[in-house]
Symmetry: C2
Subunit: 458 residues, 2 copies
């Protein structure tokens, strides 16, 4: 909660207890819907319905959309049917769909009962699109024009029908629901002659999504082309909706959070940190911790198998953490880089050989430098400074050779796994650091003991 | 490179070798500037200037903006002065500034020489704002209106002056450069009466940034409020520019990439993976690998100090990797979660006690479940199945107790460090997994050996 919200919260609480409703209303209407929602989320929940009723109708609906689902549900449960109808009527269709998706069944029934029949039908249609598809985030409220309309007629049409549209700035030219082209309001306003037919100024090379396009891909289209809206067409190339840039921004933010959570070894969650309960956090984290703990059985087995070697050369044990960590870090550097490049659409599976070659050269550079510095460090710090005479030059050699080989293996595994995961239809982010670390740990120990056997004869 | 680009590349190369320039032009004008730029980046560089000259002036400038800096530089070096002037004249001011920032000094001199004096002055002014500030990403090309204009006059003004503005959809009402309010083109078009003065319909509660606001914060404002543009004011509250949503999207993407790179233990880079050379990757990665390798000296020292304990109870060594990895994973789960929440503006330093309390409860849940499962796993798999009789019940107890304590410590350190880093003015993402892993490794080993001493008397 930021400082401003804290001050506002006090102010509002005081005015509420003094029942100064006109002043409260005056304060609230100066605020932005997101900020009002933020304030409502911070207040005690029993105060919210009263404040909500102070808001003018349109502002009330805009604020409602920005509130957390829990708070929305509380409000709806307190609404009379006519109050609920007022809010539902003001919602844009895609926001109504989001709401229906978040609410429990009994609340959904009330919402749908209050929506007018046309809205109800549209909501039900939109609900049928698969989660995370363009269809599920689009809205069906957009401006359509006919190709033979003139610029002047089009502007009139926008002025007459625009009030309920989520955006009026991009208008779609359709014929029998087939998408022919688009014009922007800028094109219309800057057109030299009001009698020009739309057909002559419309852009006909259109970038569109289909209802089944993944929402992440739609968001990438926005980032690439800087559009305000992208049209969505069905299998027969008929226009069925638009996705607007603000929804694309939300998707970009969500998908980045999801990637980051997976990379950190957690199941993604739709709840923000502030909203998640302790048990939510526990459920997000424990499966991965368990999985990785159990899979560490392998590293344990490897060490057990080489116990006699470690007993013969006690100095070797001290370098295990360093070797494992450096391997893990090298591997996650590569995997994280590749995962991000995949998310941004820069790489595909077919790039695997090229990526491998790039990573292998990088790993040789990193491995050689690390091994050289490590050799000097071991001899200067560990042997001379700390006076550990167990650490012979041969031991240092074993450690440094292992280091170089481990970095090489870690980077090869780290870059290949996300690409392979993508190919197999998994989310590449699943292959990030915790997984790579476990694999690389096992590899580095095997390399360590093999080289030790070879060079030290243990 | 995606499949479509590959097909296009072949087509264009064939048409070029057959010198079918009219057809080439026809193909190119159907394409979106971003896609043309993508095609140019994929083609052999000596073919690009010829193709570029086939493009109509406006499309050429739009394509130029989307190209990689290296390709832009090549093109400029091949331009005659008049060609360069044509492109520079068509650029929006913020794109011109980006270009000047990317090009080497001799190219910059040529660009500035070709810009008209007014543009040159504006570019120089924009260049003075600190990197990553709102001032550095804003443009000074926006529509201003006066408060006493009518709706009709405003629409006329937009039609007359809009062509060079980056957006016309949000217009700013100023008086003597002081920002009084804003109207959208939607407000203007939907206004009932053309004679209404702007003063009466403008929104006066404006969310704005200052020239020094961090670009990350500006991007967050877009994600929160869904604006098309945000006005930027100077210290005297005079309006100096606007940031548009497309630039905010780029910032969101860049900042997420930067966080992810830091979390993966790399220095952030502005180059995409496909553009980065092997040496770029090496430079991004080696400092962290070296730092973490050297800091692993501590873990080595701890093990060396407890060598006799390990020699007395050889079974203990086998669990070191599992304990270190689980600790590292637990810690990075917490740090990654907190870093993302900080990036999204959900948390601040003042939330530290609340965050700690939440993480501590989560860690107790995770720690207890992990320890219990681990105890059963050790006795069933490691002792019974693998027949390792060195692993006594006391050894399992030591391992499981260490596991629980390590998870607790890892989560406490993992959630606190990013918040402290933020408070001290560092990027919290620096505190992510590799750092946490190193600290947690040392802690977990200390805990392990202390508990072993206590319970096993080694």
């Amino acid at each position: 909660m930021d400082k401003q919200t804290v001050i506002l919260e006090k102010m509002v609480t005081t005015l509420l207890s003094e029942k100064k409703y006109p002043s409260l209303r005056d304060i609230l209407v100066t605020m932005n819907p997101s900020d009002i929602a933020g304030l409502f989320d911070a207040l005690e929940q029993d105060r919210v319905p009263l404040l909500f009723r102070l808001l003018p109708k349109e502002l009330a609906a805009e604020t409602f959309v920005e509130m957390e689902p829990e708070a929305q549900q509380m409000l709806i449960q307190g609404f009379s049917d006519s109050e609920l109808k007022e809010v539902v009527d003001e919602l844009y269709l895609d926001d109504a769909v989001d709401l229906v998706e978040e609410m429990p069944a009994n609340v959904v029934r009330r919402i749908l009962a209050q929506a007018d029949p046309e809205t109800r039908q549209s909501i039900n249609e939109l609900l049928r699109y698969p989660e995370n598809s363009a269809g599920s985030i689009m809205t069906t409220e957009y401006v359509t024009l006919r190709p033979n309309m003139t610029v002047g007629e089009s502007i009139l049409r926008i002025r007459r029908t625009g009030v309920d549209k989520e955006t009026i700035y991009t208008c779609y030219v359709t014929d029998n629901r087939t998408l022919l082209g688009l014009v922007t309001v800028k094109d219309l306003l800057l057109a030299e002659d009001d009698d020009t037919p739309i057909r002559e100024i419309m852009q006909t090379h259109i970038i569109s999504a289909t209802t089944h396009t993944d929402q992440e891909e739609v968001a990438r289209m926005f980032a690439k082309y800087n559009f305000l809206a992208i049209p969505v067409v069905d299998n027969e190339n008929r226009m069925v909706g638009i996705v607007t840039f603000d929804d694309a921004m939300d998707v970009m933010e969500e998908e980045a959070t999801e990637d980051i959570e997976l990379m950190g070894g957690m199941s993604p969650s739709e709840k923000s940190y502030t909203r998640a309960t302790v048990f939510d956090l526990f459920r997000q984290r424990i499966p991965w911790l368990l999985l990785l703990m159990v899979s560490a059985t392998f590293t344990g087995l490897i060490i057990t198998n080489f116990e006699h070697a470690l007993a013969a050369q006690v100095a070797l044990t001290a370098f295990i953490p360093m070797l494992m960590d450096t391997g893990g870090n090298s591997g996650s550097q590569s995997s994280v880089t590749i995962i991000r490049a995949l998310s941004l659409g820069e790489l595909e599976f077919r790039d695997l050989p090229w990526v491998m070659w790039k990573e292998i050269r990088t790993s040789v550079l990193c491995g050689v430098v690390l091994a050289a510095v490590c050799f000097v460090k071991i001899l200067l710090i560990d042997r001379l400074l700390m006076g550990n005479s167990d650490i012979t030059i041969m031991v240092s050699l074993v450690v440094c050779l292992t280091l170089a080989v481990t970095v090489f293996l870690a980077k090869a595994v780290g870059c290949a796994l996300p690409l392979v995961a993508k190919r197999l239809g998994f989310d590449p982010a699943v292959m990030a650091s915790p997984f790579i670390t476990t694999i690389v740990d096992a590899l580095s120990l095997l390399v360590y003991f093999s080289i030790a056997k070879l060079l030290l004869g243990v």
